[in-house]
Symmetry: C2
């Protein structure tokens, strides 16, 4: 069975993928390429926030309120770390820590990030494949008036308050896509760009040599869901990042960034008037409700996307 | 002020040292040399069980029931590790984990074990100095009919049930005492061997080159508290280890092992009849209640030991 490939960031992607996995009769067919530009080493542990957000959601253990971490988790270790003088701006739950310990130990033993991720997702009972964009270290660096900031420092420690002048992906040029990623894109029945931040969730994946070119070859099978609705991001700093880089925060501007490799662009109903502008980019627009308040909306959005790509559940 | 040096293993030592620190007017004078032969790397973390037991007790956060770990700790991370397929025979509390994370990160950054221990104990408000016997890695290996076992595997995973044929200390010959240890012994006003297992808590310290010789030079200032009372160990496998090695499980046999460097040997009242045999070893015997059910007994025992060594509180 040909795979359905998804490019994914964190919370928005996880919610959308939850719907997609529920709608697909065969969730094993889903092949998720996860952003790892946000990865950080904290307290000596290798943390992959976007992979974790997706795997906790697909494993049914995600915290529904926060959007990150494990449901009902406690923070006793973090509190104790604080008493020992450690920085505690990065929230690490006690159950969540187990993932980071396993990952770090696996990497230290010589496994690749893809191998470790496969082991952890299997233990969590995640049925779709979750593959990091690369086994190599790629670091998203946010350029701000205060200087260059590692992503987690910008996003968590400084609460994404700095004005973003640009983003770069340290190590991306030397990195290779994880084994299987380019083949999956080439063979995919369809490819979905999840409703994730273009600059910090999707761009890092596109920055890995060969990925964007592979997507361009499949342009007519690629759909993207807009992360911008009514000029705002559903979650996170995407709209502010657009403004601070001189880009109008509008769905069509996301479509413009993806125009070389996306054939279908899904906008929210409130942005219906941007359909013509999307069409002028040579992209077929499709309109639906993209705001996923709960499971019914996730499932409805997934059905629409599958319909637009001619996929049968 | 001249130091009072203590050689310490785990739970028995921690309880005794708690009494000693309470009785001494100036607990900063107490200089504890801790066994690290039990150290293990578990889930990629450097764990020093004996140092932790002593520091949690002296920092006032020890669990009074279990004897190890942090009071009221939870085990959510360990449970999650189990779900991820990790071995979970080594009990790691969530708050306890913070200590191991800090230690591991400090060591990886190039700090010595002594430096990391000093940082952690300072954060916990521990007033005595706690110094690992060596900054080098020394591994206690227990020889059993089932083969050689790393200490924690023998002690925790297999519950100390194997017959012990012998114990060796891998790496001890190449190790050096931590900086300051030999000077502290040479300058000490008095030295106490805590009521710890001779084979697996005190012998590793004595195996570090130079330590036993330094103690011999101060023999008239060294007191040991018997860990064997009425033919049994208060806690742990000491008595069984004696039997399986063909040694009678009696306080006097512990005294015999220490005879070259101990001048005063403190026996429990139930072992009063062994005083003559201890005296025949050229060691001055002293009798008191050595069973520390609670704080009053710890304090009374500490007062007796200080009195026998002519120390003023």
């Amino acid at each position: 069975m040909k795979p359905v490939v998804a490019l994914a960031g964190g919370v928005g992607a996880a919610r959308f993928l939850d719907g997609l996995a529920r709608v697909m009769g065969d969730p094993e067919r889903l092949y998720v390429v996860g952003n790892t530009g946000d990865d950080a080493v904290i307290h000596g542990l290798h943390i992959s926030p976007d992979l974790d957000t997706v795997m906790y959601m697909l494993g049914g253990v995600a915290d529904p309120e926060r959007g990150w971490g494990v449901r009902g988790d406690t923070f006793h270790c973090l509190e104790a770390l604080g008493r020992l003088g450690a920085e505690t701006w990065f929230q690490l739950g006690d159950r969540d820590l187990a993932t980071h310990l396993r990952r770090t130990e696996g990497l230290r033993k010589g496994l690749t990030l893809a191998q470790v991720t496969a082991e952890i997702t299997a233990s969590l009972g995640v049925r779709p494949a979750l593959v990091p964009m690369s086994n190599e270290r790629v670091r998203t660096i946010v350029q701000t008036p205060a200087g260059e900031l590692e992503f987690q420092r910008y996003f968590v420690a400084r609460r994404a308050r700095d004005r973003v002048l640009g983003v770069r992906f340290d190590g991306a040029k030397r990195a290779k896509p994880s084994p299987g990623v380019l083949d999956a894109v080439a063979e995919a029945e369809a490819i979905v760009v999840c409703p994730s931040n273009p600059f910090i969730s999707i761009d890092p994946i596109l920055a890995i040599p060969g990925v964007r070119r592979a997507l361009r070859r499949r342009r007519d099978r690629v759909a993207a869901v807009s992360p911008i609705v009514g000029g705002h991001a559903i979650k996170g700093p995407a709209a502010r990042m657009m403004k601070s880089q001189g880009i109008r925060p509008a769905a069509v501007e996301v479509a413009r960034r993806y125009a070389d490799f996306v054939g279908v662009f899904i906008l929210d109903e409130v942005d219906r008037r941007q359909c013509a502008a999307v069409g002028q980019l040579g992209i077929r627009p499709a309109v639906t409700n993209t705001i996923m308040r709960g499971e019914p909306e996730r499932i409805a959005l997934a059905r629409t996307v599958m319909g637009e790509l001619g996929l049968t559940p």
